[in-house]
């Protein structure tokens, strides 16, 4: 049997069919996290710390426990005491447990300290007021630079891992340094060196669906969990560890997911619902309020960064250096290493050095957010490159093209690039009508490049054929943005049956092997690769059945357009045998036909994008409007181009919010000031223009169809592209995000 490993001509891939779950989603029928109930169900509610940092002296829940509507109260004592504390990310289960329910100290405003299950949601909320917590308030710190200062309050001793150099504050928990060449020599060669500092605030993923779950756990250690998550296997594994039960005894079903963007890659309320259920012996539903989402789930890191870049008069970058300090809440995990590794990745640099710090502060535990760490680094680096271009009178696209990384370039993070598509995105930007369109007075244009690694991850897929020739495909990566459609397209491509004849299900943890989270832009890459391989596995078996029927060797049969056919004239003269003819009697010819694939694909190709944006600034009020936006990004191969465009547009829109108005605002008391959508200002429909997209396709050698992940890279360039546009429009360099009107107006005033 001949199966080409790589494919470049497609029948289904690259078309734009309706998504399989479209009807459910437009009729209100789709079941999201909060949309289920169970017989005998209780409602949970969580008591949260009003303090940024406080020792929990005593929790008295006796009044709550005595209330007739209350069926269970849990605190940290109701979770496993066998989860070990370890430094850095090695202690991640402990970190998650500590985040899910506070131990000795409340570490941030909104940190969970106790929870209740009661007969109604109102009763649960009311009963929270009956729990008395005695706190000893401690000094707190929320700013990254202040958290690193010698006089900063210590969040937790012993959290730093091996990497942190001697003499650093205990709040610095991880350190990264990499690069190559000699930056000092490089700076000496430069005609112009610019050194500047930049700050970004934490932003929230801002998914519209709050965290919600329904948990059932018996005293026999067997449980069921329904939750909105990017990865139900990681939820299974983590909940089991935190509750001290066996992983396989907890079955987790992923609901439809109302957005995640990285924020639903871990657990928050799920172990709490299970602990309450175990205590009450009844199912417990827990749904976060929006304010709880903002206060106690993953925002991204805030960052403080110093950049130094040297450039020759012809635009060649002679050296680049960056120091990136990222604050990730009261736990290790801020992706200072990722920021450092991504920041200069678009460029072919002889001399580069990057340093990243992971710093703790009294804020919620940061969670991944779309290319975690990369956008802030790109903001700082691309701002300095823009300033160099301006001062040297060079075109910003030409300068980037001159320095652009390509196949064979040593990446700033070490290895040599395989085939990559940055140059193609820059050339497309230069050729795009947007780049040459005239600007009106008061407008500025900015561009930026962006890089993201993309990820593979553990993946299991199962494909079962039915007698009538249709196929059911089970994947384990929750569908956040239309991935059922791309999975069905790839399966259709291999099987040669219509897209509509394939039903894609997101299987629960009991129905499929382990699957890593829907993150790292990995779903279309890894689940797609696994789908292709599972379908090919089924095709091998189909060919085997045909070979047996024809009485010829299996390697004399190939698969073409949904049919088994003899592989050549010497194989025999048989009519093509369609898939449905083989499946019709498969029970009698050897049994059901399925295909499987389980592996950790390791060829996720890196991806690059270039964005062009026009912004207009009102000089009297500092208000910015984005008037035109173009995203150009390498997709490797776009399986369903419309949903690829959607990823590009969504990344740009989130970047616009981050650049202009979104931020975590903490008061002097360390409390979050803006925990509702009224004051945490994500872009609304009237804030944005249409967002143009250009899909560049430079195939990824690590995927049979050439796919690169597309989900994350789109949020990397916007911060810098908009900052560059605003800086040109306003005539003053903006070094702090968000570029809210008060900041722009103040910058204009300072500039005279």
């Amino acid at each position: 049997m001949a199966l080409d490993d790589r494919k470049s001509e497609f029948t289904f891939v690259g078309t734009r069919p309706d998504r399989p779950d479209g009807l459910d989603k437009v009729t209100g029928r789709a079941k999201f996290g909060a949309d289920v109930s169970a017989p005998g169900m209780l409602h949970g509610a969580i008591l949260r710390s009003p303090h940024a940092h406080a020792r929990i002296v005593k929790i008295d829940a006796s009044k709550a426990e005595a209330h007739k509507d209350v069926k269970a109260v849990v605190t940290r004592a109701d979770f496993s005491d066998k989860v070990p504390f370890q430094p850095g990310l090695e202690g991640e289960f402990w970190n998650v447990l500590e985040n899910v329910m506070a131990g000795e100290k409340a570490l941030y405003d909104g940190h969970a300290v106790a929870a209740i299950a009661a007969t109604s949601a109102l009763a649960a909320r009311d009963a929270l007021k009956l729990i008395e917590v005695e706190y000893e308030v401690l000094p707190h710190v929320t700013d990254v630079d202040k958290a690193m200062a010698s006089d900063a309050p210590v969040i937790r001793e012993g959290a730093a891992d091996y990497s942190v150099p001697e003499g650093m504050h205990p709040n610095v928990v991880r350190y990264h340094e990499s690069g190559h060449g000699n930056v000092d020599a490089g700076f000496a060669e430069a005609d112009l060196v610019i050194e500047d500092s930049f700050v970004t605030e934490a932003t929230h993923q801002g998914y519209i669906e709050p965290h919600a779950c329904l948990g059932m756990l018996g005293n026999d250690g067997k449980g069921e969990l329904w939750c909105t998550t990017q990865g139900h296997w990681i939820a299974q594994k983590t909940c089991a560890a935190l509750l001290g039960i066996e992983t396989s005894q907890l079955r987790v079903t992923a609901s439809e997911i109302g957005g995640g963007f990285g924020g639903k890659t871990t657990v928050f309320i799920e172990p709490v619902a299970l602990a309450l259920s175990r205590k009450a012996n009844r199912p417990v539903k827990l749904v976060m309020s929006r304010s709880e989402v903002f206060r106690a789930t993953g925002p991204t890191s805030s960052a403080s960064m110093d950049i130094k870049i040297g450039m020759k008069k012809d635009g060649t970058i002679s050296a680049a250096q960056g120091v990136f300090r990222l604050q990730g809440g009261a736990f290790p995990g801020a992706p200072g290493d990722m920021t450092a590794m991504c920041a200069f990745a678009p460029y072919n640099l002889t001399n580069v050095k990057q340093i990243g710090y992971d710093v703790m502060a009294n804020r919620p535990k940061q969670a991944a957010y779309r290319a975690p760490g990369a956008p802030m680094g790109a903001f700082a680096v691309e701002s300095v490159i823009d300033e160099l271009c301006k001062k040297l009178g060079l075109d910003p696209v030409d300068v980037r093209l001159k320095n652009a990384a390509h196949e064979g370039t040593q990446a700033s993070y070490g290895p040599t690039y395989e085939r990559i598509g940055l140059v193609e995105t820059l050339e497309a930007a230069k050729a795009h009508p947007h780049y040459s369109a005239p600007l009106k007075p008061g407008q500025g244009r900015g561009i930026s490049c962006g890089f993201w690694f993309n990820h593979g991850g553990e993946t299991s897929v199962s494909l079962a054929l039915s007698e009538d020739g249709s196929a059911q495909l089970m994947v384990g990566t929750p569908d956040i943005g239309g991935s059922r459609a791309s999975m069905a397209l790839m399966a259709a491509e291999v099987l040669g049956i219509p897209y509509e004849n394939i039903r894609v299900t997101i299987a629960d943890t009991a129905s499929l092997g382990y699957n890593d989270v829907s993150h790292g832009s990995r779903v279309t890459y890894a689940s797609g690769l696994a789908t292709i391989k599972a379908a090919r596995h089924a095709v091998e078996r189909l060919c085997g059945r045909a070979a047996a029927k024809w009485g010829i060797p299996v390697d004399a049969v190939k698969w073409e357009d949904g049919c088994a056919v003899p592989s050549g004239p010497n194989a025999g003269d048989f009519d093509p045998m369609p898939l449905a003819d083989i499946t019709a009697d498969m029970g009698a010819t050897g049994g059901p036909i399925s295909g499987h694939f389980e592996a950790t694909p390791e060829g996720a190709g890196v991806s690059f994008g270039t964005h062009i944006v026009d912004a207009e600034v009102d000089p009297e009020t500092g208000k910015t409007s984005v008037t035109r936006y173009t995203v150009i990004q390498d997709a490797g191969k776009a399986i369903h181009p419309t949903y690829v465009e959607g990823q590009y547009q969504g990344g740009a829109a989130q970047g616009i919010g981050w650049a202009l108005n979104e931020e975590y605002v903490y008061g002097e008391d360390g409390r979050l000031q803006n925990s509702i959508f009224l004051d945490y200002r994500i872009p609304v429909a009237s804030d944005l223009p249409m967002i143009d997209t250009v899909i560049v396709e430079v195939p990824n050698p690590g995927h049979p169809f050439g796919v690169r992940g597309v989900g994350e890279t789109g949020i990397v360039p916007p911060l810098a592209a908009i900052a560059n546009a605003v800086s040109h429009a306003a005539g003053v360099r903006m070094r702090q995000l968000p570029m809210s009107p008060p900041r722009i107006l103040a910058a204009l005033k300072d500039n005279g």
């Binding site: 109102l122 801002g206 519209i208 943005g481 429909a685």
Partner: protein
């Protein structure tokens, strides 16, 4: 705390429920009538995921009490399609990929339907401002606005 008995009409069906006066219309639709199409994204009227129409007027069902529904005509996303025939908005949202995760979609469909009933020929700007109270975090609104404008054109041509 005594509960209130409410008789109301939802998607043309007469329904009744008992509610605490603190419970919102959204709570009652979801928890008492099992109409979970409307979502609670914020509970403060800022995201529009709970949008329903009350006596023909677009509202956030999280900003209305369940007791206030007495005697009203309420329309939710579950009532937009006529039997198995999708409303042109629903059809176009699928075709234009105007949804990614889909959690804001019920509210946006209810709001967009209300727009086209009031203004069959909205400009892009009018559509964007009408829908400004419906947050979508996935799409950047581009494909949503295109689907709404396309539907408006189709409906105009059909009438």
């Amino acid at each position: 705390m005594s509960k209130f008995h409410v008789s109301t009409t939802v998607n043309g069906d007469a329904v009744e429920y008992l509610c605490d006066p603190r419970e919102t219309l959204l709570d009652c639709l979801r928890d008492k009538l099992n109409l979970t199409g409307a979502k609670e994204g914020c509970g403060t009227g800022d995201c529009g995921a709970c949008s329903v129409s009350v006596d023909g007027r677009l509202v956030c069902s999280c900003l209305m009490l369940g007791v206030e529904a007495e005697g009203k005509q309420i329309d939710t996303v579950e009532g937009i399609a006529e039997g198995d025939v999708l409303h042109p908005l629903q059809k176009n949202f699928i075709e234009h990929a105007a949804l990614q995760c889909g959690v804001c979609t019920p509210g946006i469909l209810v709001a967009a339907k209300s727009l086209l009933e009031k203004n069959p020929s909205p400009t892009e700007e009018e559509a964007r401002y009408w829908l400004a109270g419906n947050l979508c975090r996935c799409t950047g609104y581009d494909k949503i606005i295109r689907a709404v404008m396309e539907t408006a054109e189709e409906l105009r041509e059909a009438s």
